[in-house]
């Protein structure tokens, strides 16, 4: 890995007028990341439909889960590793993002063999490659935080901060 570059991504936020849920996109230096708020009940429904034990369903629904879309917008090789990403809570404390590998290890012990839906920990993307999956942040509904994420293009590491993110509410508010 070559010396890192601190990037400055263009960040845009979008509110779904129908539901009040937010999504954010950050784009810069060959990498695009989109985070979409998901309700705890949606997460419960997903994992219940895959026969997860109740305790596991409740555990992941207790996280702040985002639909996450990452994309290689360059024409070069892009690598990412979620185990290098971290989030910072409102008090300024940093925490690692729980990875798919960590979830799978936990689920395996609980007898679960289903291994999809979460954003893969690591990836090597070429032109037009992209990936979609859940990212889990251990914060309560409506918490605000900053996500620091890293990727590399042709071995040159880039780091950026996704500020102003907020977990989904427990439920949709009355329209």
């Amino acid at each position: 890995m070559l010396a890192g570059i601190s990037s400055a991504a263009n960040i845009s936020a979008q509110k779904n007028e129908e539901t009040g849920l937010y999504s954010w996109v950050a784009e810069g230096d060959g990498f695009s990341i989109e985070l979409i708020q998901l309700l705890p009940d949606f997460i419960r429904a997903i994992y219940m439909s895959h026969d997860f034990p109740d305790a596991e369903v409740e555990e992941i629904a207790g996280y702040c889960v985002f639909g996450t879309i990452i994309k290689n917008t360059s024409q070069q090789q892009l690598d990412y590793d979620v185990s290098n990403w971290y989030y910072t809570d409102k008090r300024g404390k940093n925490y690692p993002v729980k990875t798919k590998t960590e979830w799978l290890e936990q689920w395996r012990k609980a007898g679960v063999t289903f291994s999809w839906t979460l954003l893969p920990d690591k990836g090597t993307f070429y032109m037009d490659d992209w990936q979609q999956g859940f990212t889990t942040i251990k914060l309560s509904p409506e918490s605000e935080f900053t996500l620091t994420y890293k990727w590399s293009i042709n071995g040159i590491e880039h780091t950026d901060k996704f500020e102003g993110l907020r977990c989904a509410p427990e439920q949709l508010s009355e329209q």
Binding site: Q14, N16, E18, T19, L21, S23, S32, E34, I36, L38, L39, F42, A45, I46, M48, S49, H50, G67, I69, K71, T113, F114, S115, W116, T117, L119, P120, D121, K122, G123, F125, Y126, M127, D128, D129, W130, Q131, Q132, G133, L172
Partner: protein, 188 residues
């Protein structure tokens, strides 16, 4: 007893599907379901490797072995019904299949950890029912052998059974550039 369990499971599944449908109808997850414009670039594999073999069942529980397709260029796609980009790229796979299917080319879509009833219900909702081969990888052993880490992932395999191209994430498979790559492999 067995029938009761079956009906209970069926009821639960249908209830959950109804919940999902309601949520989607409400537009709650529209942003999650409609995502980036699909590209068309497939990445050449620098050193082609033999595609791992497999034997899997189709919707009618009929077994298919990968070796049965030897001599054809194969577009091998790993997917699931709950995966939004998988759903988006499927119509382009069917158009590609309709255009090029024959002695030298086929499409195989390997579903991950779902059952025939579920997939049948899903394909019944599509504008065009897929006519290419859909196989069931109920324990994800085949996707593991292909080192698939996320869905969809697609491989283009040559007539000798070597992986020549790969794509991570959805694509428009009937794009002229993809067709050109497939035709080239068909002519080898």
């Amino acid at each position: 007893m067995h029938l009761n369990n079956y009906l209970n499971n069926k009821f639960l599944t249908l209830s959950l599907l109804a919940v999902f449908s309601s949520l989607i109808t409400l537009g709650t997850y529209a942003a999650w379901d409609v995502q980036p414009k699909l590209g068309y670039n497939l990445t050449p594999v620098p050193k082609p490797v033999p595609a791992p073999g497999f034997t899997l069942e189709d919707m009618d529980e009929e077994k298919h072995s990968f070796k049965d397709f030897h001599g054809k260029v194969v577009l091998l796609n790993f997917w699931a019904t709950w995966c939004p980009p998988c759903r988006r790229e499927m119509p382009s796979m069917e158009r590609l299949y309709q255009k090029l299917n024959g002695e030298n080319f086929t499409v195989i879509a390997i579903n991950q950890m779902e059952d025939g009833d579920h997939v049948f219900a899903y394909t019944g909702q599509l504008d065009v029912d897929p006519t290419f081969t859909i196989l069931f990888d109920k324990d994800s052993k085949v996707s593991n052998s292909y080192r698939v880490s996320g869905l969809p992932t697609t491989y283009l395999i040559d007539k000798k059974g070597n992986i020549r191209y790969r794509a991570i994430g959805g694509r428009e498979f009937d794009h002229p550039e993809v067709e050109k790559q497939i035709m080239k492999l068909m002519q080898e």
